[in-house]
């Protein structure tokens, strides 16, 4: 893939898509900076001064660390191939765990209970001492950079698609270049959204930490829900909501007959039909059909079959499913856990 295409993909779709997944880490790191600035600028018991958090530097550090981490990941992917791919369940556990961490961090900021103090990344004293004595770098900068590098563990669907491309190059330098170009493309979007969104918040000085805390909690809950979706759990809120509108099996008319294979149409906002009824007891084939799709729905995960695939923007990908017992329900989602669907094996 051309590096310019990778860059443009980052600017156009990667930025916002990845911000939805990784925004929580950026918010967490900015929250630390805001807390510190609030203390410095209000003088802890001294005279109140106008509160202006210094946000450009932490956002920049976060993005530089992210850029370096993804470039190194591209290097590894190019070199090591598919060995580094996470299984659907590993991805689910990781996403769920990150959600719990963010939720705890938000509750810590709201001072709900001292136990939530444990939901924070504290660099070891030895490290901060070393840094303090060897450079003028602030300790919060280390945390910010560390969190930026951590985003490599929670790539969005578009980033995963790009990682697959890096993997396919089979060349460390080409893999690194692809990931560098893509991540660089996402950076202006990240910076603009994070910077202006938080500047806006600075006008409501007194409540700002609380607003950030609530944002972190909401993102944490979204991440937990995504983790449940990725694990194929029926307990996720988004699945429960979509199941409210589910149609009984008897009324379903699948658009394509079983002889030609069943079809799921993949769109930018999810999968159609949401609930697909398939033949039970015998092997069936399922066609994932895409047409000019650009969202994370392209990266589809079916945990029950340990199946994950990055679909082409336009085309049809056939998936062979072995015979399933009548009544089997398989839940699937995009690799971010945002868009969900169900395969129900209950037709004769």
């Amino acid at each position: 893939m051309d590096l310019i295409v990778a860059f443009i993909t980052g600017v156009t779709t990667g930025g916002l898509s990845c911000l939805a997944v990784q925004g929580g880490l950026l918010a967490s790191s900015l929250a630390n900076q805001i807390e510190e600035d609030m203390q410095l600028q209000t003088g802890k018991g001294g005279a109140q001064v106008k509160f202006r958090p210094r946000l450009a530097q932490p956002i920049f550090l976060f993005l530089v660390a992210k850029l370096i981490a993804y470039t190194l990941l591209g290097l590894l992917l190019g070199a090591l191939g598919s060995v580094l791919q996470l299984t659907p369940m590993m991805r689910a556990v990781l996403t769920f765990g990150i959600g719990i961490f963010m939720l705890g961090n938000g509750l810590r900021m709201l001072k709900v209970h001292p136990i939530f103090r444990y939901f924070v990344i504290e660099p070891p004293s030895a490290l901060t001492r070393y840094i303090r004595r060897t450079s003028k770098t602030s300790t919060s900068a280390i945390t910010t950079a560390f969190l930026g590098a951590l985003t490599v563990l929670i790539p969005c669907g578009v980033a995963q698609a790009m990682m697959a491309v890096a993997l396919g190059t089979g060349n460390p330098l080409q893999g690194a270049a692809i990931m560098f170009a893509f991540t660089l493309g996402t950076s202006p979007v990240f910076f603009s959204v994070a910077y202006f969104a938080t500047r806006l918040g600075a006008t409501v000085e007194k409540y700002f930490t609380r607003i950030v805390a609530v944002m972190v909690i909401v993102l944490g809950l979204v991440s937990i829900d995504a983790g449940l979706n990725l694990a194929g759990s029926p307990l996720s809120v988004s699945r429960m909501i979509s199941s409210l509108g589910a149609v009984p099996a008897a009324t379903i008319q699948n658009p394509v007959s079983a002889q030609n294979g069943f079809t799921v149409n993949v769109g930018d906002t999810g999968y159609t039909p949401k609930v697909l009824h398939l033949s039970a007891v015998k092997p069936v084939s399922l066609n994932w059909v895409t047409k000019n799709v650009r969202s994370c729905s392209l990266s589809v995960v079916v945990p029950g079959l340990d199946y994950q695939k990055v679909l082409p923007a336009t085309g049809t990908v056939k998936m062979d499913i072995p015979a399933q017992a009548k009544g089997t329900v398989m839940r699937y989602s995009c690799s971010m856990g945002m868009y969900t669907g169900q395969l129900v094996f209950d037709l004769d």
């Binding site: 510190e36 203390q39 018991g45 103090r117 504290e122 004293s125 001492r129 303090r132 004595r133």
Partner: protein, 71 residues
Amino acid sequence: MKKIFRVPDMECPNCAMHLENLEDELPGVKRIEASYKKMSMDVEFDETKLTVAQIIQAANAIGYHPEPKTA
């Protein structure tokens, strides 16, 4: 000498780092390890050069109110 303080007014992880900065500013301090999670600060110091009261005073000056823990 080593003294452990409870610091109830640490509000974020950076508070621990601010307190550890005293290590470089207070003559007689050998080592400070502060923990936001435990709300505590361990200070190792030379008692011939520094007193507990002076440590508390220095922390007060940067906005914290450590209380010595009794063993």
